[in-house]
Subunit: 381 residues, 4 copies
């Protein structure tokens, strides 16, 4: 008896399941270009630090800018609720693990978002010479974005777990991205999404970049709690296909930024090979000596008051931001000198720039074996 | 040389192997409807507690009803064999692990099922204002179901490991579901089954709901002992296809209830996305403060006297039944606020009701990686 | 660029990767028949104990016969080299693990195979009322088989790691199975093989049964040392296809016996569903109180003098041979009451006999998950 | 909605995922031939020891030659930078693990490569009667290869992580393999590569052998750091396809040497079945009593000064080089008597020589299971 198919399930892939294939051409890594653009703003490296309180504060935003990348400050977290944010961060860091989620649920709601603090944080970043990118939830975008732009913000990111161009709500004041982009004079990033259709529809609203990633990482609690998520290689490939479709339709190139699930340099190389124009990283930068989380990290920008999907984890402090990005290093696990790793990877794959790296062959090659790790190094040319 | 194929093996999928894909539409979770119907009885949430002695007693049946769901009392377990069931449950709980299976084999056979206790348990549930659903094995259905209905039972569930519309036995008094459904005036659930054909044939007998699930969970002992089982995503999809076929044939909508293998809220979201109308959970509810198992659970409704396929496990007590269903919670692993999780998941996927959630895209996305868990949280938007 | 395919790789499956699917029919387990035939000799259960020194001696051969199955005595091991074999077995058992392989290499070569001991062992089994099946390597078959048959052996098994109908050797006295079968008047089993072609060619020599299995089990050292092996579900399916082809060609039904890799009752059910007529088990029977290995087992019938592929493992003693086969039991992991498990599995799958069980649907359902075991029991109807 | 495919991902396979299938023919292992040729130089066994400082020094190069194989001396490591290399090796071995990578980064750059030491090492190998093969990086090939050939080197290997026939560099003095092969009068090996196209293009330059392998092994740090790599079974198959294409085009047979990721004899058998003509091993030979690493091994020939991709691991000393190659052994894990294992494997698969072994069937048979190892041995015929 033939069983009618209720639903088709497509196989998707994450970082650990693929590998890049060097081919018939190689390029000297010193000749590789990895620059990247949002609107008319240029970045010499395609690395963005997440809008998470343990990762990005005023100082790291400035530092990342100066190294050629970008760091996004969240406007709905500690920094715009408290005059002295580090005091609160330190309390989060020092709480016992079984109390920390409840404590975070409290501190992220005890104080409201203050408009004067938004203006203050933006001004601080600009005053110190940084490019200022800030992140807002869709519900507050129309209200808070103008405050930030007024204060000098260069880029607005409108982001939540899942953001779509079409939203059903009884509220009559929903966010219309077409209008929002016109109202805001600076480049707008929107996220997150993972599907071809959702990404294409967002691009058609006129935004300047789309952030890709829902529930990446196998143990991500969005997968556990909500059952949703698409592994990042497939999400990047599908949204890269949307970018190409949109580019063919309009001639406008809207970069996609793969966000989340990165553990090491190899993952960055794979995301770009899968079609990303840039990458957004949280925990790898939470390990920086400069990180406000001081060796700790929490998965969500802020925990949901009745259904939290992430808690505080210890990531340790392993080196300076510069070392993490540019080395040199004696660490062999791919967590430092990620720019060097990307350039070397592009070189051995014969890619002179990001667009060429997106064309390199990639294969499915699961990193799972029966054997322990100790023997696997064996011969690693 | 071409090898003739002796048998075709189709790939099947379980909860841990799939993920739901948010698309181009989102809905405000507050506008999501999740109600569900058995016959003409309405439930505001599609959650059913299993007919297992550690999960459902008179009080939890009443409590679940009042919260909008359902709890099924087993009529062949401790509650109808012993006047004072909690005394026996406490003995099961306090036995050392290496003696408990033999002890359970004894207490489940030492006393017969007593009809006056059936009537008593049903009356107690009704007296306290609950909807009364009871579970009976096929062999005893014709004898015990009338007793329960007489006492006021609202729903009869006829369930065993595998139940089919066609059964071969030397006994001349086999159960004919067509006749049984007509004899019993209340809605009838039947289970368990996992295949399109078996489910379709059961629906054609006139039953009011079919329970789906044989040997779910990778380590389920039905898989170990008997080799049988189908992972729940595929089982739900195949039986949902049977429901659609039957609905097209007759215009009658027979809900399917995916039963077993759930560990967290995300699994519930996936089962419904795979086609389920409701879910039946054991161990997640055995963790409730109100559960008769007091932090312990046993896999089978009662152990087979010569070939047991489950033993007692400790699940712990983690919160109230209300907290498990509705939160609020500071737990981030998806075991609490499962109703909130379902509504949020449906919202980000643009589904306004259960039927729409069944249409959302799902992908194969194995939750298996080389790396440990600690790093995987990383960035979980 | 299209890459020419150097070699096609087909996916194969082992016990842990599949599950049996109950369908639209069920049968009362008490009405299920599981008998099996080699030549004209009938067995009431399709269970055979391996020709391994830790599993089969004179007494277990007799005991298995009396319970309806078969136990094969190896004629090239301890029993035909030493007058008092248990003395040697006890020495193997008591050696420290790091000395035992070298010790076994020694005791299996220190004494030659003695024809009078062959006659003696066969006579002992027959005198005690057992069916006598003996195993010989191909190189010695022409010399030793007549000795065993003369002494009363009922079945001759000619077995090595891989045995084929076509063998290239400089020796002019190679074994021709067509001639051997005619010379030996009792039924002949041959093994092992795993492919359709090899099995078909062996059947065409006129043998009465083929033993299936090369390197089963993921960690089997034939896989480690030689790289060879086919997981047992695929091997059984491919050789069952050969049996059907041969049956269509000739009308003669040659049973296949799946040998090795079994851990529990569910594996036996799966092997038969995959096409096996009977199963041959080593370690599950090494756990019997009657086993000569006294709780220990070694993987090969005897270790190779310069390239051993198995060592001694501790399996423990868990119950009597009768309990392992027929129960009753309080063990829930499928290692006891394997006959009851097979009948129950066949019943829920609607199979009245072995031939019908071979027609039941089977699916690919990997028993691998991220989560630990403790939660997976959850609800196991 | 149909999603356009941004990139096609092909599934690739490693050693642990495949197994060789014995078929309808067997050959006496004593009649199996395993010889192999580079240019006009014959080797009686297809085993090559890696150009890594912990594996190959003057003495092991001589020893491997005398046993019928080959050992390649790296000309850019310790041996050509230091008069007394063992002194440096001993320092590497004795460093604490957290200091060793930095220490290696230092010693591999503190002293330059000295031409007189190149000449000295080559002369030593020749004087002791060995075949002398030396390895050079592409950037130094034109300068150092003539020095080695002048001193008597028999084979030149030009190898780096990825080497291609086409290389883009601002440097005007790039290596042109066509010219290099003509300039150097001895056979030239080139590596490493993994793709059909890259291998074919390298063969068309006139080289005498191609080394296959980039990032083999699941935990190889090239996979972690750069994201690149192809599992060795697929890499060997694709490059074997290139060899066949080139052979059909030209009639010239250029052997491919699969390099890296080998843990045991079975892996060697699988590589050859996948199309390799010979194998190159590091850590299996680092375990030899004669190995300069004295029980330690480091994955790269030498660590990159700012982006190292391997560190020192302890492999232990398990036996003599002769035992590892030829046995006899009491070890059952496939790490000793690898020549015996290859011949036995070829015999049971009916292959009389390497070319026939390349034609034997291979299947996908993952070595991954839920269960622990202890039970898996069970019955291993």
């Amino acid at each position: 008896m033939t069983v009618p198919e209720f639903k088709t399930l497509r196989r998707t892939y994450g970082f650990d399941e693929v590998a890049i294939v060097p081919g018939g051409l190689t390029v000297n890594p010193e000749q590789v270009e990895i620059d990247f653009k949002i609107g008319n703003i240029n970045f010499s490296i395609p690395f963005i630090a997440s809008a998470m309180d343990a990762v990005t504060n005023v100082d790291t935003a400035v530092a990342m800018s100066k190294m050629g990348g970008l760091s996004v400050l969240h406007l709905e977290g500690i920094y715009t609720r408290y005059e002295n944010p580090q005091e609160i961060l330190d309390q989060i860091i020092s709480k016992p693990i079984d109390e920390v989620t409840a404590f975070m649920q409290k501190v992220y709601t005890a104080e409201p978002i203050k408009e004067h603090l938004i203006a203050k944080r933006v001004s601080e970043i600009k005053a110190k010479g940084g490019i200022c990118a800030v992140s807002i939830m869709p519900a507050n975008a129309k209200k808070l974005a103008p405050v930030a732009v007024e204060a000098g913000a260069d880029i607005i990111s409108v982001a939540s777990t899942v953001t779509s161009a079409r939203h059903v709500s009884k509220s009559s004041h929903g966010l219309i991205f077409e209008e929002f982009v016109k109202m805001i004079k600076v480049p707008v990033l929107v996220g997150n999404c993972v599907s071809y259709q959702a990404c294409l529809e967002l691009m058609r609203t006129g935004v300047h970049g789309v952030i890709i990633g829902v529930g990446p990482g196998a143990a991500c609690t969005s997968r556990e709690v909500l059952g949703i998520g698409v592994p990042q290689i497939t999400a990047s490939m599908d949204c890269a296909a949307a970018r190409e479709t949109y580019y063919k339709e309009t001639g406008r190139y809207v970069p996609i930024i793969t966000d989340g699930g990165f553990k090491k340099g190899g993952d960055v190389c794979k995301a770009i090979c899968a079609g990303a124009d840039a990458v957004m990283l949280g925990s790898p930068f939470a390990k920086a000596a400069e990180a406000p989380g001081r060796g700790y990290h929490w998965g969500m920008s802020h925990p949901h008051p009745s259904l939290p999907r992430g808690t505080r984890i210890k990531v340790g402090t392993t080196g300076s931001l510069e070392q993490i990005l540019f080395g040199p290093t004696s660490v062999t696990d791919g967590t430092q000198n990620m720019v060097g790793a990307l350039k070397t990877s592009m070189g051995v794959c014969g890619a002179s720039n990001i667009r060429e790296m997106q064309q390199v062959e990639m294969v499915i090659a699961p990193a799972i074996t029966t054997e322990g790790k100790s023997y696997q190094l064996s011969k690693c040319q």
